[in-house]
Symmetry: C4
């Protein structure tokens, strides 16, 4: 089943934005669930996100088997994505990244919590998955479905899970949402570290978090997306939001 | 009543400068009071400040009703601007932003105070408005006049008020002043956080703050404005300072 | 007495480098002693350093009187430069700046001390001048010779003095040295703040500082100057170091 | 014995990448062991890494004598490189740098330890060499073989040694590895400083470090190298990895 060219371009744009905004460096990856085959997902071959082109995108089964690799190497940690899509029908896009703000929280046990509305997607509790708990001393990479499913279980029905000594996963209902949530997760982490040094922090209340999630609309993502496209040197196009792909991006 | 093209260009430039200098990201907005109709103000449609063009600028009543929207979406938080113009005849320009330096002060209760002359506009006391105090658990956005007027009351006759878990408002006598005050407010916050970790801080005294405010002239803003225009890729023009619009920019 | 075009270009380059490397923003200034008239110095008209052109450079008496202003406005704080040249025949270049690393030290009383050889020019002790001590509540600007001479007295025979709530002055034997010393003073301050949070710092010893100062040569400045010219978009030319102006730059 | 043009270009690229990624500024240097003459190494003349061209590269004996200087000035600290190649046949590339993250650890005695897999090359212990211990008060520069051999002895069979009040050395099996290890050493240092302020840090365990080192392949370096080439404005070429030079880069 053929994927619309617009969607492939959107996925390239998401990669470039995550790179431009400092969420991924040479590592980290973003995927979307296949619009026509729900048990497949789309992701680039193993390449730094800021270098990715449309021809790098491949389809994978939820077990991480590339459908038509044609010699293209896959990300070693692609299993993270399938394991989340497998148990979360509400999730249509996933990012695995190691943004610099996030790492210190995963290795110190200091709870990461939302302090502005823009980062409320992380919810009231962000769990930390430690590969050592069940898998002992490894190279920390999630290179098989057993590890990936264990991580997905820690994520549960949330949007964000930290990974000790590694990074995090962010899962959302659309590609633009998952990029947005990744950027503001990292910003929240940076701000929380700075505020931590100043004094006791007033975080968003449980009611405030819920109020933000209840009122957030696509327009919020769009305002950011236009700016991020410009900064990443990518064309900005509202059409996917309005056409048949609207639910997917 | 038609607004001079130069003034519209100035407002676009202000948006671009605030974006280039990191005071706003995809969110935040800047307005000016209408030069001919004091109970109207001018502001862009809902768009990231670094993308704004002259055609995005609209006039609003102080209640936040767009005069000639022609399908253009307004910022959800535009009410902030009108509520301040309504009670502060001395104010001709307002910025609402979430700059990264400012947020930690609004959520920890650590008082933000001026430590260099360039940031003296914040005065001797910067109040913090908390939407929860009167409005309970909300998404923290100032989306109606009741909230905006409550915020304006906290601001009082000052130039800056922080907003807990959100950002701040900056109100000044001219567009160039409000941009200047926004940039140096953020710098002061960054420096105060660094100094806080080093030891006890000597802030400007009350007398020093007054001396700065008594001697500050348009030339200070101009020197910065020329540089900021260059960095933002905008033409620099001294004319508004010298012509009939001088009091407005 | 006519100043060689090369020297004027060098001074423009110094301004652009200080701006590009983040030592000055819209404010701050750099001067050189006049090569032919020792009681004159050369400095730009009042303009942001990254905007300065050759035609902006003017000569001043040590009292701060512009020789041929021709309508060009002078920096309000130009007096700092003359007061130092007046009592320091060994000084041929001065920078007044408010770099972000330096400010927190001037307002907390934490001693700034060299922790790498590249910043050894500050010596074993960096004094802090406080305008309030002798001049009371002012706008903190050094706008007359009385204040400037008081600051120069605090500087004494050193290379660097901090200014409380304001910034610092850096005085050196040549233009390339004063730029170098300004950049690495700021870096040292940044590193010292970070190290301060980690634990007790081992600074350079008195003997190490002296050994650095005894062995530093022009080649060190040149290696940095070539790179800084490239980053600032300015031509790099070794000639001043080799020709008759060698002692001046 | 003539060195392949591709290898010289690779060395230039390594210099440009280290500059672009903020690991070196005007100072610091990177060398590779000569592919045909194991007791020679290749390094640039004394120049800022971001300015280096192919014609700047020279061959040196392990004692630091330039083979064909032709008037080109050598780095004063070149001895560091030869002293390491002399006792470490496994090392084919060396970087000496003063990256900003690393310096605070060398002057406070806080142990630098790996907290993510990407920086595991530093191993379980990073020693700090202090020039003062055996050489007393100097300008801290490693300007002779006696100092360099003392530093190499501190390095031992490890990949990284800090230098108090100065910077560090990084030694690896290939040019792409040494650049990679330098970049992620600095990142680890930055993250460790931030995490240090948040709470007690869980570092990689000894077993995890070993697992990373056992499974790391050239592909990891390549993914980063392609991105870094793009950012540094250098052509990216996989050939050296696949051709006869594969073991050298």
């Amino acid at each position: 089943m053929r994927v619309a060219q617009e969607l492939l371009e959107e996925l390239v744009t998401a990669n470039r934005i995550l790179a431009r905004e400092g969420i991924v460096d040479s590592f980290g990856h973003v995927s979307i669930r296949h619009p026509g085959i729900p048990d497949h997902y789309l992701m680039s071959r193993a390449r730094a996100p800021e270098c990715i082109e449309v021809d790098d995108v491949m389809a994978f089964t939820l077990d991480g088997v590339a459908i038509d690799a044609a010699g293209r190497k896959s990300y070693a940690e692609r299993f993270i994505h399938g394991a989340i899509y497998e148990v979360r029908p509400d999730v249509h896009a996933v990012v695995h990244h190691h943004s610099h703000g996030v790492i210190p929280f995963g290795i110190t046990g200091t709870p990461l919590r939302p302090l502005i509305p823009l980062s409320a997607a992380m919810g009231t509790e962000v769990p930390t998955w430690d590969s050592r708990t069940r898998f002992g001393d490894t190279n920390l990479l999630v290179t098989n479905m057993a590890m990936a499913r264990d991580l997905a279980a820690t994520l549960g029905n949330r949007s964000v899970a930290l990974m000790r000594g590694h990074g995090c996963v962010v899962a959302s209902g659309s590609l633009r949402a998952v990029v947005f949530d990744s950027v503001y997760l990292n910003l929240n982490a940076d701000l929380q570290m700075q505020a931590h040094a100043l004094g006791e922090i007033t975080f968003l209340s449980r009611g405030e978090i819920q109020a933000v999630l209840d009122t957030r609309g696509a327009f919020t993502y769009e305002r950011a997306w236009e700016r991020w496209c410009r900064r990443a040197g990518r064309p900005y196009d509202l059409r996917p939001m309005e056409g048949p792909l609207a639910d997917l991006v």
